[in-house]
Symmetry: D3
């Protein structure tokens, strides 16, 4: 179960409210790189965890921390909406700064949320549960988590540079730091797992087509750089030897059985009589 403390996890102050920045912050709330995603991702991973406890607990600690980050960002959005334009009356747009705000703000911040945050990204696209990754495989999930924090930190640094508001910069410097830690902690789990790749690491090698497990297949033109790490030498997982070759078909031309009549494939004779299609029909294989 969960408990709440009234203070924010970190201070949130906005010196100069900007509704366009409010819109950008939405990416960090309800975007694919955002806090709703990591919160749910870590908690669902924990709730589905069938052991070991050390990782389940770790996920619960950090998943819970992330709820507080959503809270910080939602607060920051509301603060950035103070004084935002609430009309599209033309006289208001004579000033280019106001014009930029009228053009660049999220209309739903006013219309749907009354100057508050939404559970959406910076284009108003709603948060989707499909972004929540919890596969039941610890290594796969850790790679997902490292990526989530990598793209989250990348987003936070881009937001940092997009604003000159001191309060916002301070808040972001904290979130950037937390994303540093979180990247490191998921990597630490991968380190503990010793040989996590290839994920899953327990599928029997004799059931895998070994001929193609460590070969880089070229499907575009040109030579691969001679010093490429991925075409020669020991594979990163330590289980094979990299090689490379030209991609070529290993299968035959597919040939599906004809459709049964109840599918109505559109190729039946018609009352108008035949034409090319009948010749065609006759020529259909099998």
């Amino acid at each position: 179960m969960f408990l709440h403390r009234k203070e924010l996890a970190y201070e949130v102050k906005v010196d100069d409210p900007n509704p366009v920045f409010a819109r950008m912050l939405q990416q960090a709330i309800g975007g694919v790189e955002g806090e709703m995603r990591v919160m749910n991702q870590y908690l669902f991973q924990a709730w589905s965890s069938r052991g070991p406890e050390r990782y389940r607990d770790m996920l619960l600690h950090t998943g819970t921390e992330e709820i507080g980050h959503i809270e910080m960002l939602a607060t920051a959005v509301a603060m950035n909406l103070d004084g935002a334009p609430t009309s599209v009356k033309e006289e208001a747009a004579i000033n280019p700064v106001v014009a930029a705000k009228m053009g660049g703000q999220d209309p739903r911040h006013l219309l749907s949320a009354g100057l508050g945050a939404t559970a959406s990204d910076s284009n108003g696209v709603p948060f989707s549960g499909s972004w929540v990754i919890a596969t039941g495989n610890i290594a796969s999930d850790m790679f997902a988590n490292v990526h989530a924090e990598a793209s989250g930190r990348l987003l936070a640094t881009r937001l940092y540079e997009a604003t000159d508001d001191a309060g916002m910069k301070d808040m972001l410097s904290f979130l950037i730091a937390r994303d540093t830690m979180h990247q490191n902690q998921w990597l630490a789990v991968l380190e503990e797992l010793k040989s996590p790749v290839p994920v899953p690491n327990d599928f029997p090698e004799d059931k895998q087509n070994q001929d193609f497990a460590y070969t880089f297949l070229r499907h575009s033109e040109g030579a691969v750089p001679s010093d490429a790490r991925w075409t020669s030498g020991k594979s990163v997982d330590g289980r094979g030897e990299f090689s490379e070759e030209e991609g070529r078909p290993l299968g035959s031309v597919p040939n599906l059985a004809p459709a049964p009549p109840e599918v109505h494939d559109g190729l039946e004779a018609t009352s108008n009589g035949g034409g090319v299609i009948h010749k065609v029909k006759d020529a259909v294989k099998n």
Copy 2:
């Protein structure tokens, strides 16, 4: 530009068609772990690549390879739909095997696709472009790619074990092998990048709140295991020293400005006269 060869990248045969397995295969086509996602992910990463060429090219090779995997799986779906039930007439369901098929197949395989594959996952949820990750940061993208291949290989192994069809097992043994290689090749890029973490690795440390960059914050109960890699010792990125502490609020209780009248917050005096809400209204801070 792209070219097509008529033969499949690898042989696809189905010995004993099974519409429930056809539905499961959809996860590998249009699901979040599927081939449509990796194809688009690698190609969009390449198309947005502002260098270096070695990675751009590599992404183009493998992104192109993945289109052929979608082709294989779509073919496998169609083959598994041969002879699938095309009615829900009750007499057909007397046999439990048929009953399982009628219950477990995707109704759109017949109704919308005429016994062919769709651009959807195993629950019929359409493929979403929101799953395509291309951040413009090579390290972030590589972690996304390792995860994509990890969850893809995990899916393929689960499918492998869910069927006893020799043709399907052979096809999956090839896809599993390719996912092994692809995990390795994205990891090889990360190896070449030397110190990719924390992503992005060029954000100035003095703009990050260093006090919280390597500290595990506990937000749940209980002690962290004494041998945890993530609470002491050098951080995985080699730039800090892990520590841990109890999560505590570092900010104050948030206090937003009152809403302007045009937001209509619902707290205005009404013609019916007051009550608690008026006392409440008087007490609203700032």
Copy 3:
């Protein structure tokens, strides 16, 4: 900020795991009536709250409680997936009970989640942030909340009757009770607001078209029941008198200006010469 306790908010036990019931429980996690929706709804309402504090605090209490309900349900899903079929091999389906499970379970429970819960509804449709209602108007939000708890309790009672598992029934009897309380507490706020309707209750009546503010307009056939509460007598909001009349057009036939050429409306003369469309074009009004 938020904290976590390791014990569940209420006991979760499953006596006889059933993967079809696991799928049904997903509706209560990631469905439109589910706990992810109410958790986010109450918290976003709180985070956007510009006062009064009593309601902001109340929302924080209950929004936090709901996270624990997601935790309970996700645990229940995982427990119901113990022993679920992990293959579609035909011999397994000889037993009708197994056949029902193979047909009725969510394939992603195995394929994507490794026998754990997902952030989706009972059809695998992902949770959507668009379901999170936080309008910035306290009365509007309270009606949304009453409905959310009404449909949530309805769902829980239907789940209660769909199972004969004692553990699940006990868990649901608790969730049903909480939904009772939550319905009551949102209604209590509406009671405190004294005259919340029509929402928003501060829009000037002289700017509303008063002629149609309390009139039931008939757009279907037949008389309205003579004892209908909504066609005569004082309106429920106490501000008007109900009446009824036949719906009739109050506007004119719309007539849009022609499209500018760069829209390419498809009506231009073509090199093939005219026909009906030219007569048509000539006849286009304005």
Copy 4:
């Protein structure tokens, strides 16, 4: 079945077309608070109604009325798009008013719809059938309907204040009035139902965990206001007595069974030999 009359339900005139306002009006067409939602909601409730006829009929009257409101708003969008910018050529943007329009308009109004309305909200997010609530429980549906009209009227008042176009204000004054009536009529049904809460009102009290049915559980800090309606006194549904207490865990720490091998949880011994994970693995409970 349905019939159409050519005149609009109410007059729609635009004095000064504004493409940014056209975009805002989309929220009232295809947004979660919009007319497509209420139209479908009332009609689906009617079509699924298993009695009584008085409510089924009422829903059909008003659901049909709402189709005409979509028609009005779609007409208003098209009228507001007269003269909208159809290029992004830079010289056009020298005027800040034009700049605001170029920034703030929906690009799909030109590109996809040729200066007409779309079935989307003000951010271009498509209308979703998931917003259509029809639960089969009359009381639950009525609360959904009151909320739908509350948020719809709130949206209409915000639109009213965002424009100074006399035609648009007149149209909105009518829609605002209809939303007043519709709120009242759904409330009138709830009044007729006498004791609709807790919804559903016929679930046996002895199957509900009565200990928690009227208790406000605190999950955040601080005391609840002493005059709070929801912590003491008779419950609003008249069936219980409000109380309050500190939220505390009533369950135990969850402990899931280990995953079966075909899930590939990532914890197996590897050919590289062990490390922490092996110790970890040994320690996994049950």
Copy 5:
């Protein structure tokens, strides 16, 4: 504005209710081939129509007719849900027919809709406004409409053959007939337009790259059939002469400018010192 008549547009009777067929019927309500799509498509096309009146009116007639088809199908779904299983208790599944129903029915029909229809397709995927096509070009829209009716009629025939319920077959024979008429009427408009293709038919030919306007480009292997209508002879639009050639690149290898520093592309020198990436970085073109 719209009016409603209480009788259905055509008789709806179900002799033998079947919840699996109810699920399949959902495809015709809220699926991409369904009635919600055509209703909205025709009405939005009409509402955005800037003339001529004859087509605007025609769209209004048929768009209105389609609302009545949704009504029929929603009624049919509810009737097919009479007696549907409302539990997943195992003893109920002993009969294979019941097992098929338990597996094959839509769980939300019970859980969310109380045995009524939803605004979703046969997999429970919600209707999406993105399927509503209204481009502002009459010819483009007519092709969209012909396709909508073609896939709709195809769906209806597949449903017809999937059931042996006489009432359902009769209802579908009516819907199939209406789809016949609707295909014909949209084709009649195309006939009136004389030379609608290429759509849009008024884009100046000298601004189109004429070298590639009538050439079939081969991007796969093998010869095109010698009697192919699309590689020689007059083009179908009567404006060109078909030819064919091998697809070949007409552009150069793309080469994007390097990313500005605030994008953080991941290629900066790090405190750990260089490696391959530095050589790589030096080699980045422009």
Copy 6:
């Protein structure tokens, strides 16, 4: 399987980068009229094709061509983002041209993609697999394809006129030409099919309700134009004679069976005693 060539299918140059045009180009990548849709549509149609080979091959040629168009457009987006604003600092907005860009650009182009393309439309709405039409009926699919190319060409012409960048105009003149060819080639297939309508063309006429197969039903007011092609004369499919009549109900008023108790329809007697609802309940038919 697929191969890639490094050069673009056609030259892509941007003389004067414009981030607002970059946003508009997204419609042609990930929008419903865009290249991701046609690429997938043609390839899925091919992969599900059960013959004849001539059409399967044709679809593979053109589907493969379309991948190269996505590549061109993604390159064009990236080029248009060179020099795009990367901050919302107010001083930057003093120039109205910059203000228009800041307002009109897609924030995710910077935040999520680091100045590259996304798999989304011009409003940031992700590409959806639900737009990919492959019905298993050749005629239905060809109409879908003609429409896809019609709306695609319409979009390209609107983009052509929205820009004055010579490079972009040249690229679009090529894409416009290809859409001309593609419209023609799908029409050529329909010509070969001789009598494709009504689709599907092999459903037995005696199972269709012939009384309504060629009758235009009026559901709106007013006379149909006397020269309307769709109300008299031979039907376009050559199989019937057009007529017209007033729409009228052919069915009865629907009357569903009462809900079973486990649905909880909200109409049960309550402990508070009756009221109108009890009279109502008594009056429920059947």
